[in-house]
Symmetry: C2
Subunit: 212 residues, 2 copies
């Protein structure tokens, strides 16, 4: 079976460890590609076009929107951010499993355009542990932690829209788990229609021969 890649949406609460999971997937396995977002904000020092972001003008970005060239996009603080469709499709065709690290709203737009996309939601083992992790970082003010927890509470409304939930308790196990879920998705009947059709044709040929 030769597979096109799987399009993966990885979402999760702030503090659930999404970013770390993505980094580990990219470094431990060679089947993944990370989708690069496009933005109209100016590059910061050290950022490279095509690495951190694809940097674009407002005019080009809006042209892409018109031409349906973005899987999803949003506007934050007067700048556009979005996922270019052509790059993702190219990677999928090359057989790469492409990871989008985006939030619920974007995830739903991806599912509309790529019904076979695999939606994963990363969760802590409990809300208590999420709070501990946010507090334990020691880098955030109480106010920031509170707003993150309030945001998590909002985000938790959409979890049932995802295909799988992954509990991030022990990081190594969680990364392995995410990898397995994606790996198994390759065997979905939906993704193997050509293989099934080919098997059917071969069997029909045998049956015809046998009755000749």
């Amino acid at each position: 079976m030769k597979h096109e890649g799987v399009l993966i949406v990885l979402s999760g609460f702030s503090g659930a460890g999404k970013g770390t999971i993505v980094k580990r997937l990219m470094s431990q396995y060679d089947n993944y590609a990370l989708s690069i977002s496009m933005t109209t904000r100016a590059p910061r020092e050290g950022e490279l076009d095509g690495r951190e972001y694809f940097f674009s003008t407002k005019e080009d970005f809006e042209k892409r929107i018109e031409e349906n060239g973005l899987i999803e996009y949003a506007c934050y603080c007067g700048n556009y951010y979005g996922t270019p469709k052509d790059y993702v499709q190219k990677m999928l065709k090359e057989g790469k499993d492409v990871i989008l690290e985006i939030e619920l709203q974007g995830a739903m737009k991806v599912k509309e355009q790529f019904p076979q996309a695999l939606l994963l939601f990363v969760m802590p083992p409990s809300a208590e542990i999420l709070k501990e992790r946010l507090t334990g970082r020691g880098t955030e003010t109480a106010e920031v932690i509170e707003s993150r927890l309030a945001r998590a509470s909002e985000e938790s409304e959409g979890i049932e829209q995802y295909d799988y939930i992954v509990v991030n308790d022990v990081l190594d196990e969680c990364v392995e788990r995410v990898h397995r879920i994606i790996d198994c998705a390759h065997d979905a009947a939906d993704r193997n229609r050509a293989f099934i059709a080919d098997m059917r044709r071969q069997l029909q040929k045998f049956s015809q021969k046998d009755t000749e």
Copy 2:
């Protein structure tokens, strides 16, 4: 996360190795239970009630049909064969992943009553290899092999109704593959609604505290 078991339907062409896969799953892992069929045919020598089959009278069997006590059933050669619902439900509640080794028609009936059932179809790597395997057994006449291939051709019409296809090329790998697919199914959001709802309640409590 505490899970109820997953109900698994395992189908596949004759000669694809279903029976061997089920035996290996049962002996290698301790999370599986095999559904035991009920039949009205007489026990053969060495067969035990509750091991090979649950043996039943025609009257009792028909009463079960009326009471919707069978997940699926069929009549072959004047005898009923079916899958008792209560036994399967008991095993699922105990957290066992219950395997039904049945064919397409039965599989569709299972899916109707248990929409979360996981439907797996075992295939050989190619039709050519299926033919070789059937021939290689040396126990079947050319006529039997032909009728099996014709039957496989018919069965291949329904493969798209399954959730996953599993190619049985190297047996060990195939068994591991089937086990992984079932294992990952436990993380489906659909199967974790209680866990998600509980997380939501906890997060809401934090948010309320924070705004007090």
